[in-house]
């Protein structure tokens, strides 16, 4: 089944700097999926579990977080905290009988780099395979 997913990305301010390059057009030129709604946060460690769950309540088919490398977070443990919260959301989704793969954490280096786009494509492909969110009933 083909469908156009809605994916919410919460990204660290530093990790997603390239989204600002050339008024945001550079990401698009690099092939960053249009299905992804990028929300920049000062630090992923600030993200609460409720924020991630709210994205699903608001209709996201998939949610992912991009933060600093574990050993290189600008706020020391911010991205580690985010990863723990993503894990807890994944556990809760699975408890509800929903694929845990709909939520994901990535630790990526800061600045302009190809992995940011690659992980976006990976998430887009995964969610297309999984299909629409079961919460959209």
């Amino acid at each position: 089944m083909s469908f156009d997913p809605a994916i919410t990305l919460f990204s660290c301010h530093y990790t997603s700097q390239q989204s600002c390059a050339e008024e945001g057009s550079e990401l698009e030129q690099l092939g960053f999926p249009a299905s992804i709604n990028l929300i920049r946060v000062p630090c992923t460690g600030k993200l609460q579990v409720t924020t991630l769950l709210q994205a699903f309540e608001d209709g996201a088919d998939g949610v992912y977080v991009v933060g600093c490398p574990v050993e290189g977070c600008h706020n020391v443990k911010g991205s580690l905290r985010a990863a723990k919260r993503v894990d807890s959301v994944r556990d809760a989704l699975e408890e509800l009988g929903v694929e845990g793969g709909r939520v994901q954490m990535y630790h990526l280096p800061r600045g302009l780099h190809p992995e940011f786009v690659a992980k976006g494509k990976e998430m887009d492909s995964r969610i297309r395979d999984l299909g629409p969110s079961p919460f959209k009933n």
Binding site: V49, E57, A92, E95, F135, N137
Partner: protein
């Protein structure tokens, strides 16, 4: 503090499946400290209930509230501000809170969101261990401040059993033999002779084996 954990979501959703509106009621006492049923956890639970109901093709309206404690009448009275706005309360308090609301609000259906586990403490962030069994007849003055009732798998009162090896309990390598620790601690205070005193057969009636317990303080009743 009283330590608790969230019940499985399927169990909670089964409780509220026929409700249209529920009040998810947090407790700002012990369960906030152990991150099981405070305002933050109640908000997370509310979101998960909504998602679970959506997945089942149903909708539910959730009101979030919280009380200072759910184990005192004066705070329970605050529930009245939501009168008529819900079909049931989902309490994220410990079992005491659920009982208290049930005792004091005969027309209110209350569901427990947590499994109440034990009286414990947190030495490491995110980790709680049982320290007290609330047995009603404390012996900590005889055991170096370490409780054999709560922390010995057999609640032995006269030293370790044969399953104690290298300070570890036979039930699990991650469980210390509390009698070994009692010995070591008494020894460090030069009081190990205390171990030679035979503890008498214990009267467990104070531990709940004599039925529900009650404390009355005449100096406080008016």
């Amino acid at each position: 503090m009283i330590v608790a954990e969230r019940k499985p979501l399927a169990e909670i959703i089964e409780m509220v499946k026929d409700c249209k509106k529920v009040l998810v009621l947090a407790c700002r006492g012990c369960v906030t400290v152990c991150s099981a049923g405070g305002e933050r956890e109640a908000e997370i639970l509310s979101s998960l209930i909504r998602l679970g109901m959506k997945k089942a093709g149903k909708s539910i309206e959730i009101i979030n509230g919280s009380l200072v404690r759910q184990c005192d009448r004066e705070y329970i009275d605050e529930i009245d501000q939501w009168d008529g706005e819900y079909d049931a309360v989902v309490s994220t308090a410990c079992g005491v809170g659920v009982n208290f609301i049930s005792n004091l609000r005969k027309d209110t259906m209350v569901y427990p969101a947590l499994n109440t586990t034990f009286f414990g403490g947190s030495a490491e962030q995110g980790e709680w261990t049982e320290q007290c069994a609330g047995c009603g007849d404390c012996v900590l003055h005889l055991t170096g401040g370490l409780c054999p009732v709560a922390r010995c798998a057999k609640s032995l009162m006269n030293g370790p059993c044969g399953g104690s090896v290298d300070g570890v309990c036979e039930i699990n390598k991650d469980v210390e033999c509390i009698w070994q620790s009692i010995h070591d601690r008494l020894n460090s205070f030069d009081r190990v002779a205390q171990m030679e005193v035979i503890a008498p057969i214990r009267d467990w009636s104070t531990a709940g084996h004599g039925g529900p317990r009650k404390v009355v303080r005449d100096d406080l009743t008016v």
